[in-house]
């Protein structure tokens, strides 16, 4: 059973990422704050007796469900329909080089000088904007897999889909981000 301090520490560690992840989905700070608060309270009410190690997975699942409930309530059909774009055909291999994009991102984000710092801030904003532009399911898979650092099975559990779908969503999300960054001129 998680102690009061463990629950507090967990919520403190996850609250900002949860807020950001929800903002990406609902595009509203106020709604995202409400959803995160509801998810936190539900976790505290129903699952505070679970071991601390189980809390991240449970919380992300609650947050996903709370976000989906928000969409149902608001009847934002367009946001749900955007998920359909996940079925679009993937770019064929070799259209662009992931390694070059990786090197460009690592080079840009590792900058030290003042001008580079400005460039770094711009790139961070650009990445932030491009993540927000991803289709819903791709973004969810990307954030759970690479930001929350869940493994494929855990991500599939939270998303309620197969592990294969998670891999596909993640791959397409990274491809889309790399392509968008290269289109914005981030090259080695």
């Amino acid at each position: 059973m998680a102690t009061d301090k463990e629950l507090s520490d967990f919520l403190k560690s996850v609250e900002k990422r949860a807020f950001k992840r929800t903002v990406y989905a609902v595009r509203s700070d106020d709604s995202a704050l409400d959803i995160v608060q509801d998810a936190m309270i539900k976790l505290a009410e129903k699952y505070a007796d679970r071991p601390a190690a189980e809390l991240p997975l449970i919380f992300q699942r609650i947050l996903s469900n709370a976000t989906m409930d928000w969409f149902r309530r608001e009847k934002v059909r367009n946001a749900l329909m955007s998920n359909m774009s996940d079925f679009d055909a993937a770019e064929p291999d070799g259209e662009f080089d992931l390694l070059e994009t990786l090197q460009a991102v690592e080079g840009s984000l590792g900058a030290e000088s003042a001008s580079d710092a400005l460039s770094r801030a711009q790139i961070l904003r650009l990445i932030d904007a491009q993540v927000a532009e991803l289709p819903g399911r791709q973004r969810e898979a990307f954030l759970l897999r690479y930001w929350e650092e869940f493994d494929v099975a855990e991500t599939a559990l939270v998303m309620g889909c197969s592990e294969g779908s998670v891999k596909t969503h993640c791959s397409r999300a990274v491809q889309a981000l790399a392509k968008a960054l290269r289109a914005k001129g981030i090259r080695p």
Binding site: D4, L7, S8, L11, K12, E15, K16, R17, F19, K20, D29, L33, V36, Q37, M40, I41, L43, A44, E45, A48, D93, G94, D97, L98, L99, T101, L102, V105, E106, L109, I123, L124, R125, I127, D128, V131, F142, L143, R145, Y146, W147, E149, C170, S171, A173, V174, Q175, L177, A178
Partner: protein, 146 residues
């Protein structure tokens, strides 16, 4: 790098790039507006307070059960919902019993009324005009009694 080696390394590259891009989101998340950070802190404290309330309620529930057991009233406490449910059907049972009594009383009254009419008819004298009635004449002809 050959095409085959690129395709082999692709999942690893995707994972590295994904982690790097997602890691960069921490920088933007760390600098959330103060009002957002404050609301998140408030939400966290609300959730923790709720968790403490739930724990307290659970502990209080345990203590109540023990108290009832100690006072010897656990049986009553345990059976009260069952008795309450059964008592809810009592008015319905009374209503059905009343309707059946009323029906019995009405049948008995009808039987008694018919018996009174029959006895009056049998005890009364036969009017002379009855012999001119074709139905009565037929009745007399079909009477099996000697």
């Amino acid at each position: 790098m050959t095409t085959s080696s690129r395709s082999t390394d692709r999942p690893a590259l995707e994972a590295r790039l994904g982690l790097r891009l997602a890691g960069s989101l921490n920088a933007t998340t760390a600098s959330l507006p103060p009002d957002v950070a404050e609301r998140l802190r408030f939400a966290r404290e609300q959730a923790l307070a709720r968790a403490r309330d739930v724990q307290r309620a659970a502990c209080a529930g345990d203590r109540t059960t023990v108290g009832i057991s100690a006072s010897g009233a656990l049986l009553l406490g345990g059976f009260r919902p069952w008795l309450q449910r059964a008592a809810a059907f009592l008015p319905l049972l009374l209503l059905l019993a009343g309707l059946m009594l009323i029906r019995q009383w009405q049948v008995r009254e009808q039987v008694l009324a018919a018996a009174d009419i029959d006895s009056l008819l049998l005890a009364d004298t036969l009017p002379p005009t009855a012999y001119s009635d074709p139905g009565f004449a037929e009745y007399l002809r079909s009477d099996p009694q000697p």
